[in-house]
């Protein structure tokens, strides 16, 4: 028994020192930098590359920001966490923000990411779908918490089909590719930026996609959001964050391969697929509007279009459209060099 006790004491001592070392590491990184919790929309994708480019080059540190990146669980989760004050800045799909603001969530858009919405629907060519309206009666696989599912009624109304004319299958958010490849569903909703994942898993000539934006779904997409509390208390931090981030975006647009290589140094991502994804994103960011006003520009007309879309097809909105965004934190010198 005595020997046993000694062993147990040793084990306890080892565990305490392990724990202490863990907490020490956590404290060491704080220092004099301002801590910022950034909540992503999902797991790491190509549109998160700018953060790591900026981290690698120390741009956030130069601006006095200690950035902590948190993996997300969907736009709805992002809005909830911002509202709850559990994250300082988050990424969320704009229509979702509009909808939850109606329900009382305190979240505002301070900068955009994509200038065009990348929502898309993928299907095998042999399902006979030739136009979006052919989706009637098909089975659609989409995660329950996905922005596509939230905005489906709006898109359905836009293309003129009843929202309940399709059969939805709830899948795990990681199962989009396998849902299509296994032919367990006729259609899978996924962003166009996810195209390389599908192309890598199956022969690209056997499937096609429709981009919602090509069929009238004109609204803002992924955006950086924050709460009015953070806006009131830390406006300087927001300005610095957006300035560094959009500078990194400009770099990513001009050097997609380098950007993904830097991302790969931090995350276990597939380099080829994400480079392809980032190149697809170029068409959503290198638009005329951004070229003129800078990456991340919030066009009041675009906000109004999103507001009208949600209001007409999704949920009735009763707040003033100017409540939902604040563009005073965008970079003073817009990044247009792409």
């Amino acid at each position: 028994m005595k020997k046993g006790f000694i062993v147990i004491l040793l084990v306890l001592a080892a565990s305490v020192s392990l724990f202490a070392q863990g907490t020490k590491e956590a404290v060491a990184t704080e220092g004099q930098l301002e801590h910022v919790d950034l909540l992503l929309n999902w797991t790491i994708a190509a549109d998160h590359a700018p953060f790591y480019v900026a981290l690698k080059n120390g741009w956030y540190k130069d601006a006095g920001i200690d950035l902590n990146i948190i993996i997300g669980q969907g736009s709805g989760y992002s809005v909830t966490m911002i509202d709850a004050g559990k994250a300082d800045i988050a990424i969320a799909d704009a229509p979702v923000v509009f909808k939850y603001h109606e329900d009382g969530a305190d979240a505002k858009i301070i900068g955009t990411i994509f200038d065009k919405h990348p929502n898309a629907m993928y299907f095998y060519n042999d399902t006979g779908i030739k136009k979006p309206q052919d989706i009637v009666g098909k089975t659609v696989a989409v995660p329950a918490t996905d922005g596509h599912k939230v905005m489906w009624p709006a898109f359905a109304a836009m293309i003129g089909v009843p929202a309940d004319s399709v059969e939805f299958i709830n899948i795990d958010s990681t199962a989009k590719v396998s849902a299509l490849v296994s032919r367990n569903a006729d259609v899978v909703f996924e962003l166009l930026t996810g195209y390389p994942n599908f192309a890598a898993a199956t022969d690209p000539s056997t499937f096609s996609y429709f981009l919602w934006a090509d069929y009238g779904f004109q609204c803002y997409a992924h955006s950086y959001i924050t709460s009015s509390k953070t806006i009131a208390e830390r406006p300087e931090m927001l300005k610095k964050f957006l300035d560094v981030t959009y500078r990194a975006w400009e770099y990513c647009m001009n050097n997609p391969e380098d950007a993904i290589k830097i991302l790969a140094e931090y995350q276990p991502i597939n380099i080829t697929d994400l480079v392809a994804s980032l190149k697809i994103e170029q068409s959503f960011i290198m638009t005329d509007r951004f070229k003129e006003h800078g990456i991340g520009y919030i066009d009041p007309a675009g906000i109004q279009a999103t507001y009208d879309l949600v209001n007409t097809y999704q949920t009735e909105l009763h707040y003033d459209v100017n409540e939902i965004y604040d563009d005073s934190f965008l970079p003073e010198k817009p990044y247009t060099n792409f």
Binding site: M1, K3, G4, V7, V11, L12, S15, L18, F19, G22, T43, I44, I69, I70, I71, Q73, T80, K86, T174, A175, K176, V177, S178, V181, N197, A200, A201, T202, A264, E265, Q267, P268, I269, N270, I271, T272, D273
Partner: protein, 268 residues
Amino acid sequence: MKESINKKPNAFVKFFDKYQTVISILLFFLVWELAVRIFHVSEAFLCTPSSALKHLLFKQPDADYHWKINITCTLYEFLLGFLATAAGGILLSVILVWSKTVQKIVMPLFVFLNSMPIVAITPLLIIWLGYGLHTNIFVAFLASFFPMVINTMAGLNSIDHDLLDLVDYLNASKFQVFWKIRLPNALPYIFSGLKICSTLSVMGVIVGELIASDKGLGYVIANSQKTMDTPPMFASLIMMSLLGWAMYFVVCVLERVCMPWKFVRQKK
């Protein structure tokens, strides 16, 4: 079995028995490898173990899985989770056996908690506890504490009644009975519980990391799932099982140290 009395086991059987686990696992990997190759299964559907090992040991051109960082992270969470379960489980059992009232109140709640799938509770835990290592450790604790408590309680309760009567006759205090009789008697059950915990804790850590984490083997799995990249998925799962086995082995060694008397009888 009957064979042990009259037949002397031959050398091959002895060798197999000694390394039973390793040999049968290697055989299983061999069958897996051959099956995938013979049936020309595509890698997105199921990869070969050799492909998984290649992704684990050699640098891949297409992705850097940062194995060292991720394995260390999972190991760290696993060790702390396992220790928390061991210490917490034993403590809880002691409290529950000491006071029958507390047991009546708390046990049904534990059974209730145990009936809920961990995958379903984890999203709620993330909302309440936030995001990070401590949440994963708590998930590991939740996943493995119940068998630990059940086993330890069974051990603490399973005393020979005659022995209890004797000690009672000698006017032993409740504390003395506990410390000198119940606890040593419960050691075999505690170790049995620890062995079960070793696999359950690592499972809990992986589930926690799958759902929201940016480091660890579970995270590598989550990332690879998106692109149907099966080799790192299976490499992580193999690594994870190894961790569980290693802890099981450590518990066995500890068992021998703490209860040397149990192993004398083994040589039949």
